[in-house]
């Protein structure tokens, strides 16, 4: 089963239709998505700024990370749950959205960035916990994190706009390829 076929199947389920047509559930889920964003990206930004030596410089990096990470993870879990429901409500159009696909790519990159940071320079945090200047690898990870999450916010917001939707043709070759549009040949 292709991913598109899966999305078509998903769109036909009663739960998806109910969510799509509901007057209050969809906006409610989207509001929770935004509130969780404040907590998740907000606290991630604080840690990134700490790694860039821009805030809480008298607090050890590991203390900021240890005390905030459980909340950051909680915020992320709520984001994924509400985000999945938003996808579930509008599966086909979202799957074929260039913005959604860009967002997924950036999410994967953000995940890789976290993994590199935690398995790399952060393993040796005891050596630079209170250093006046954090190591370059930590600063690089923080900058990448800020750029990726801000990019993810922008891409997420732009999913709502239909400029590049498959059912609005003609689109450029790139858009049709990147969005996976199935375009009937011109008459």
């Amino acid at each position: 089963m292709s991913l598109l076929a899966f999305c078509e199947w998903l769109a036909a389920t009663s739960g998806s239709i109910a969510l799509h047509e509901s007057l209050y559930m969809y906006p409610l889920i989207e509001s929770v998505h935004v509130l969780a964003l404040c907590i998740f990206v907000g606290l991630a930004t604080i840690l990134d700024l700490r790694l860039l030596n821009k805030v809480l410089r008298n607090v050890p990096v590991s203390q900021v990370a240890d005390r905030l990470l459980p909340w950051t993870i909680t915020g992320f879990v709520v984001m994924v749950m509400t985000g999945s429901l938003l996808f579930y409500a509008i599966p086909i159009r979202t799957y074929q959205s260039v913005w959604f696909r860009g967002k997924v790519i950036m999410l994967i990159l953000a995940g890789i960035n976290v993994w590199i940071f935690h398995s790399g320079i952060y393993q040796r945090v005891s050596g630079w916990d209170m250093a006046g200047r954090t190591p370059a690898a930590a600063r690089r990870a923080a900058l990448a994190s800020l750029l990726l999450w801000f990019g993810i916010i922008v891409a997420g917001r732009f999913i709502a706009y239909n400029w590049f939707d498959c059912d609005i043709q003609p689109q450029s070759k790139f858009v049709n390829w990147f969005a996976g549009c199935i375009v009937p040949p011109a008459q």
Binding site: S31, L35, C38, L43, W71, R157
Partner: protein, 156 residues
């Protein structure tokens, strides 16, 4: 009563300029959202501390002092982007209950943050008090209402 003013604002060039562009509204909106995330972080980290969570090993005053410049920056960007968004659709906002909820809670949240909450966060002690807890809880409730009502403007 305010309707004539909102109608007058609808003519303003900046709003017209945004309406005539396809891209400007979502672009400004995206910056508004990024600033919201930063504002969320800077508010929540202090409120969590007031609730005895997060950076609870540091004094309230230290966390608040560190967060403050970033919070002020985020609020400034929010207002600087929120104003043009409003100017692009003043009449829609006028008839949107969510808009008025947001404006009143925003005024309350700003006033509260820069008066009562600032005074309470000056405490140098690491121990928590019931008063701090209440101040933190009210702050979170106010700002979350502002954010949720703001999102709701778009649904009407």
């Amino acid at each position: 009563m305010l309707l004539p003013y909102f109608q007058w604002l609808e003519q303003f060039w900046l709003g017209r300029f945004i309406v005539e562009s396809n891209w400007l509204f979502p672009v400004i909106e995206s910056v508004h959202l990024i600033a919201l995330a930063v504002l969320g972080g800077t508010v929540v980290i202090v409120d969590m501390r007031l609730l005895g969570l997060g950076l609870k090993h540091r004094s309230v005053s230290e966390v608040a002092r560190e967060a403050r410049p970033w919070m002020i920056l985020a609020v400034t960007v929010m207002i600087a982007t929120g104003l043009p968004l409003f100017l692009s659709e003043p009449i829609k906002c006028y008839y949107s209950p969510a808009f008025w909820v947001k404006m009143w809670t925003l005024a309350a949240a700003l006033l509260y943050t820069f008066t009562i909450r600032t005074r309470v966060t000056r405490s140098e002690r690491v121990q928590n008090t019931a008063r701090q807890f209440l101040v933190g809880a009210l702050s979170i409730a106010l700002w979350f209402t502002v954010a949720a009502a703001g999102r709701w403007i778009g649904f009407s």
